[in-house]
């Protein structure tokens, strides 16, 4: 298969984040004054048409908040998101939905149990008033076939389906109105491995045939390595590294990325457990460490890492935000 570079070089990114920040006001106790939680902090990146961009990081790193902003479900506190060059503020709610569709982690809670498959998959068509009733019925049949659901299930309810079939329904629903971008939030982590493989194969095939762009949020780095073109690594709301999948996995630059990669457990009995990544707790997001947010857990931390925050540096290998790469070339 072709590498990321073989994808038609785009002129305008399909989706762009420019210094996107999202704050939440959190009360720690009943009588405490609220504290600002920077769930996503000054994140900028561009998504090109036809690529799979994975967003990885531990729970609490802001990846789901970022996804909700990309879906137009949550406005950024500052910064802007652009669709094909147009700022999102100027794009209506229904137009955003027509361009970007979500698929969530849990196919048990994301489908309405009282609706049949036909109704679930057809709802976006009805909402967007696409086609006549007959055309919609034909479209539902077509899309169900596309995701590998047998036609007789059109009258079935979600509780009659297996986990894998439910996730196919969620994918069918997302694709019904032909969006350009699909945002997947942990789409296979609730599934068994044999079913996960079926769904991943389906996603790769759909992307090829429908020329879709995927934003793929996952904590499973082996899955990310397999299907993503580029990987964005987040830590405590910051985008700390971004680059082509091959480069990230072969030559990670940020110490946090290195740590994440070391914790992948490939099924090789000769290897044993990797050395413990780091001791110490994930920091309190309400009181993030000073300087570089990763410095208390960083094996390569230097004296000034706790004092000043590193600046993001962008070059031909992508983006990295680490003092190791600040102010000097890194031709290692």
């Amino acid at each position: 298969m072709s590498e990321a570079s073989a994808i038609a070089s785009p002129t305008v990114p399909v989706l762009e984040c420019d210094r996107v920040t999202r704050l939440f006001r959190v009360k720690r106790g009943l009588f405490e004054t609220p504290v600002a939680l920077r769930a996503v902090d000054d994140v900028s990146f561009a998504v090109h048409g036809g690529e799979v961009l994975a967003i990885v990081g531990e729970s609490g790193c802001g990846k789901t908040t970022l996804a909700r902003m990309l879906l137009g479900l949550l406005p950024p506190s500052s910064g802007s998101i652009r669709f094909a060059g147009r700022p999102m503020e100027g794009v209506g709610r229904s137009e955003i939905a027509a361009r970007v569709q979500p698929v969530f982690q849990d196919p048990y809670s994301s489908l309405n149990p009282r609706k049949t498959l036909g109704q679930i998959v057809g709802l976006p068509l009805a909402v967007h008033r696409i086609g006549t009733e007959d055309e919609r019925r034909a479209r539902i049949a077509e899309i169900m076939e596309l995701v590998g659901l047998p036609p007789h299930l059109v009258h079935a309810y979600p509780n009659q389906l297996s986990g894998g079939q439910r996730q196919r329904v969620a994918i069918a629903r997302a694709l019904a109105i032909q969006p350009a971008i699909v945002v997947f939030d942990e789409p296979t982590s609730a599934l068994d491995v044999s079913v996960q493989a079926q769904i991943l194969n389906l996603l790769m095939e759909l992307r090829r045939t429908l020329e879709l762009t995927y934003i793929f949020i996952s904590h499973d780095l082996a899955v990310v390595e397999h299907i993503a073109d580029r990987v964005a690594v987040m830590y405590l709301g910051r985008l700390v590294e971004l680059g082509d999948t091959g480069r990230i996995f072969e030559d990670p630059r940020h110490p946090y990325t290195e740590t994440l990669l070391r914790s992948i457990l490939t099924p090789d009995p000769a290897l044993g457990l990797p050395p413990g990544p780091f001791d110490g707790e994930f920091p309190d997001p309400l009181a993030p460490p000073s300087g570089c947010r990763f410095h208390p857990r960083c094996p390569k931390a230097m004296e000034h890492c706790g004092a000043t925050a590193p600046e993001a540096r962008t070059d031909s290998s992508g983006l990295v935000e680490c003092h190791l790469y600040n102010g000097k070339s890194h031709d290692r």
Binding site: M1, E58, S59, S162, G163, G164, D192, V193, S194, V195, Q196, A197, Q198, L200, N201, M204, E205, H219, D220, L221, A222, V223, E225, H226, I227, T245, G246, F249, T259, L260, R262, S263, I264, L265, T266, P267, D268, P269, A270, L271, G272, L273, P274, G276, P277, F278, D279, E281, F282
Partner: protein, 336 residues
């Protein structure tokens, strides 16, 4: 290789049946396994394969309706089948302990965690409050929790998922058990925390010389920490062997399929189709002679309808249940 004394748990011919409206659900069928001191046995399989039911049967924690049959369930030479519930509860939490996937549901939300740890020691060892507290503090420190004294006064909701799972491990160790059964202990955790918790389990196993039974669906974890592996499908163990034997020479078509399914950075070519097992798990209700995997198996033939459950040997310590001989199964490794 291992003496009788080192076999902590021996299970022979264990079956678990659950009556359901449409008949009898055979959750576990004719399972044999043993856990050895200082070693790790992994039970691997997908949801509904019977791995958790097997563990619950050993711990006598099956749901009330379930019926258990076994020729032997022996722990350190005691036949657990003959024990009264009272006698059994003196062993559970004491000589053997279980760690569950979700620590939030296995800790009592209305008591400080200290009380919950100490209670175990007081009950099984008849120790005083102070002795129990010392043991709890020692173990909390041992599982890598800083300032254990403070943590013991906290409630479960005040702790992160990783901390709670460490506390579950400390809880299981309170009475220095000979056997720990851990059911998906890291599934709810982040990858970095997962690595820490697995390290901890491994270290403690060596330090306390325990047998560990690890139940998981994650082949990556299994490969890295198990000594022996039992692969379960639809209630049966379909293949068993050492970790090296199973990964170097998977023999049952289900085991081969399972290994093929997972992306392997550096080995599977990126953005190509992964191997997958077509179809879904069959219903476990009713009598089903023959191989349960046959409706998903590329090699199924007529005789799989009523055969396929006889154990065949690959080599010493490695066996599988399938009608086909090893050579045939190897000759047709699932193409990737």
């Amino acid at each position: 290789m291992t003496s009788e004394r080192d076999t902590i748990l021996r299970v022979r011919d264990l079956s678990v049946d659950i009556p359901v409206p449409s008949g009898t659900l055979h959750a576990v069928r004719n399972v044999d396994l043993s856990a050895i001191r200082g070693r790790t046995l992994a039970i691997v399989g997908e949801s509904g394969c019977g791995k958790t039911m097997t563990a619950l049967a050993v711990m006598r924690l099956l749901p009330g309706r379930a019926r258990l049959r076994a020729r032997e369930i022996g722990l350190e030479g005691t036949d657990l089948r003959s024990l009264s519930d009272k006698a059994f509860s003196a062993i559970r939490g004491n000589r053997m302990a279980m760690i569950f996937q979700d620590p939030m549901t296995s800790l009592n939300p209305v008591y400080p965690i200290g009380d919950q740890l100490e209670e175990i020691h007081i009950r099984h060892r008849g120790s005083g409050r102070r002795e129990a507290r010392e043991r709890a503090e020692y173990l909390l420190a041992r599982v890598g929790i800083v300032n254990p004294g403070t943590r013991l006064r906290q409630f479960p909701h005040q702790l992160s998922g990783g901390l709670r799972q460490r506390i579950m491990i400390a809880m299981a160790l309170m009475c220095d058990p000979a056997l720990i059964v851990a059911d998906e202990p890291t599934t709810a955790l982040d990858v970095t925390v997962q690595a820490q918790v697995l390290h901890l389990l491994k270290d403690l196993q060596a330090e306390f010389d325990m047998a560990l039974i690890l139940i998981t669906h994650d082949l990556g974890i299994v490969a890295r920490i198990a000594d022996r592996i039992a692969v379960m499908y639809a209630g049966r163990i379909v293949e068993t062997g050492s970790s090296r034997q199973i990964f170097a020479a998977p023999t049952h078509p289900y085991t081969q399929g399972l290994i093929d399914c997972i992306p392997y950075p550096g080995k599977t070519e990126r953005r190509t189709a992964l191997g997958s097992i077509p179809g879904i798990v069959p219903s476990l209700v009713g009598d089903a002679p023959g191989c349960m995997f046959r409706n998903r198996c590329a090699m199924a033939e007529e005789r799989c309808r009523d055969g396929g459950n006889v154990e065949r040997s690959v080599e010493d310590g490695h066996s599988y249940r399938c009608v086909h001989p090893v050579e045939r199964l190897r000759g047709t490794m699932v193409p990737s």
